[in-house]
């Protein structure tokens, strides 16, 4: 087992952890960010900005609850609008965390140990933001519990043949599993914080959360089994969530939705935007908190490669949509293609092609993959591109379907924009707090990356 962690001599890639670290320096460096580092003016200033943005959400939702969805730009051909665009965008972003923690754990990609914790946190916050939209979009969010099957006096049950009901199960399961996966990953680190905290209240709070973890060998043994099994079941789950989201579209008959390529194309797009968000957050965080030792250029470069690969799958999806528009011979499908390129929303489609296919191709060059500034910018462009993709899928497909008597246009209102900006604020507020109250890098998993952590089986023979 020890062999798979030895780095071959010929490997000239930057290391996963910079040399010179020991168990205690890792513990100290990461836990001090939470326990010792004073709160800076910059942190407070940034927090005020993102917190105000979050309050835009409260305002927009408050007004929505009073007036109803009429305050949004949605209308009859375009009944979905921003609510679903943003829902799909946020859910997509939420894919990177569990992908990194589950799939890469199964593949024994040990470099993921430095980025899984905050990617998982990002997943949780993104899924929480996503969840707001369909709830608000139901029109009467106080009755949203009707979506769940429970015995009721109306003798009424959800329709399990509807993709919208599947979505409720997929998203709520995804949130729950991501939460418990994140939490059990945190337990040993919470114990570390408990044992290092000096303030009795801090000690008590972390002690309560750590549930008395003491690092017993038996506990670790069961812990590792549980973690591995969670990774195993979370792997198909990650792939299923966006698949189910894509069914919301693919099961409908609207041109631009009714295609079998949607599930893989959505999943690839989700991972694409998820890694873009990981990079957008990791690049500033590693610089601000001085953790370049743990989140090295190697991590950034690998993430850039994942982005490039999934971006090409997404490009294939666009290509296939265009091909089917022509090859199907269906006038509605070929009109859809024409409408994307020449219709009233052509700016959005052309920007989408630039953001998602054109610009990210520079990642073929190592220069861009290892330059933090460029990488941040490209990731941001990808996030914009993926948002546009959802806009194209939802709005452009709906606004001109079969009958031109029912064509329409969609213009988002200020409430749409406020809700969207508000969820970004909520997401950033949660991240802002997270980096200061929980260890943003998994301490115990980083310890296992040090060569001292590996025990040679020969030792038991020599006794």
């Amino acid at each position: 087992m020890a062999t798979n962690t030895q780095i071959p001599v010929a490997d000239r890639r930057p290391p996963v952890i910079e040399p010179g670290h020991t168990f205690s320096t890792i513990t100290e460096k990461i836990s001090n960010i939470v326990l010792k580092r004073p709160i800076s003016l910059g942190w407070i200033f940034g927090f005020l900005i993102v917190f105000s943005m979050m309050n835009l959400l409260m305002l927009a939702l408050g007004y929505l609850f009073i007036k109803g969805t009429g305050i949004w730009g949605i209308n009859i051909p375009i009944g979905w609008g921003f609510a679903i665009v943003n829902f799909v965008w946020w859910i997509g972003i939420g894919h990177a965390g569990t992908l990194i923690s589950a799939i890469l754990a199964l593949l024994r990609q040990t470099w993921r140990n430095s980025i899984n914790r905050f990617a998982e946190a990002m997943t949780l916050f993104a899924v929480a933001c996503a969840g707001i939209f369909p709830l608000a979009h139901t029109g009467r969010p106080w009755l949203a519990y009707w979506l769940f099957p429970y015995p009721n006096t109306m003798n009424y049950w959800p329709n399990f043949r509807s993709p919208l009901v599947w979505d409720v199960f997929a998203v709520s399961t995804y949130f729950t599993i991501s939460l418990i996966f994140w939490f059990i990953g945190l337990i040993p680190d919470l114990a570390t914080l408990r044992d290092r905290a000096e303030n009795p209240w801090t000690q008590r709070i972390y002690g309560l959360l750590a549930m008395g973890w003491r690092g017993s060998a038996r506990h670790w043994h069961r812990y590792e089994t549980a973690y591995l099994l969670l990774a195993g079941i979370a792997t198909p789950l990650v792939l299923s969530v966006h698949t189910v989201v894509s069914f919301d579209f693919a099961v409908g008959i609207v041109p631009g939705w009714h295609t079998t390529i949607f599930p893989p194309y959505f999943v690839a797009g989700a991972i694409y935007s998820g890694f873009a968000m990981v990079l957008c957050l990791a690049i500033p965080i590693r610089a601000i908190y001085g953790i370049q030792d743990f989140i090295t250029l190697r991590h950034l470069e690998i993430s850039a490669k994942v982005m490039l690969a999934t971006g090409l799958i997404v490009a294939y999806g666009y290509g296939m949509e265009a091909f089917m528009g022509w090859y199907s011979g269906s006038q509605f499908d070929s009109f859809l293609l024409w409408n994307r390129l020449h219709g009233p929303y052509k700016i959005a489609y052309l920007s989408l092609l630039a953001c998602n296919i054109g610009i990210p191709q520079v990642l073929w060059l190592k220069k861009f993959r290892v330059s933090t500034g460029w990488l941040w910018l490209i990731s941001f462009v990808v996030l914009v591109g993926m948002w546009l993709e959802r806009f194209i899928i939802v709005v452009v497909s709906l606004h001109r379907d079969f009958l031109n008597s029912s064509w329409g246009m969609y213009y988002p209102t200020k409430w749409d924009w406020m809700t969207f900006a508000g969820t970004i604020g909520m997401f950033l507020t949660a991240m802002w707090l997270f980096v200061r109250v929980l260890p943003m890098i998994s301490i115990f998993e980083l310890r296992t990356l040090l060569p001292e952590a590996h025990v040679h089986e020969a030792a038991e023979v020599e006794k």
């Binding site: 399961t173 044992d195 060998a217 089994t225 089986e457």
Partner: protein
């Protein structure tokens, strides 16, 4: 010293390798009730202390099966018995559309069983434990490695066990008050 109840004897080690070697030797010397503590999972350590029964996987399997069966059962019951809706004469038991919720609930129940099962089998949450009484034990979540022989072990003897542990060259030995 008066006869105060003792939970066990604790030995501290510097490296993971030392701890595994010490655990092996202690187990082979005939001690049954021992435990080892480390700041990260160590391959083979639990086995070295004589721990082999790990039932987490079984709990997860049972949880997953319950989740899947109850999800399918619920959908079958709703769609065909209690709330049948005729959509264009299609079959009420339209099983392909029940697969997704069945899948999701299998995952959900299996995942919850993994976490709750792991915690329950480990006896957590347990905020107080005698090993926390040893001040050096704080380092068990940082960079030190510990071995404890419990006083309930039939072979336990305050003096003999102490001198046995001394032979393993630990950094220090401490009595764990109960």
């Amino acid at each position: 010293m008066s006869e105060s109840p003792v939970y066990g004897l604790m030995a501290e080690f510097d490296s993971a390798q030392d701890l595994v070697t010490a655990a092996h030797k202690t187990h082979e010397a005939g001690y049954q009730k021992i435990d080892a503590y480390s700041p990260f999972p160590i391959e083979g350590l639990a086995e070295a202390t004589g721990f082999h029964k790990n039932r987490v996987a079984l709990v997860v399997l049972i949880g997953g099966l319950i989740g899947g069966l109850s999800a399918y059962g619920l959908q079958y019951w709703v769609a065909t018995i209690t709330y049948p809706v005729n959509v264009g004469g299609r079959p009420l038991h339209s099983w392909p559309s029940f697969i997704i919720v069945t899948f999701e609930l299998t995952i959900l129940f299996a995942g919850l069983s993994a976490v709750i099962g792991m915690l329950a089998l480990n006896g957590l949450p347990m905020p107080y434990h005698p090993v926390f009484n040893v001040p050096e034990f704080r380092k068990a979540t940082d960079n030190k490695f510990f071995l404890v022989v419990f006083s309930t072990d039939p072979k336990y003897d305050a003096a003999a066990t102490r001198s046995f542990l001394q032979g393993l060259a630990p950094r220090m030995i401490a009595e764990v008050p109960s």
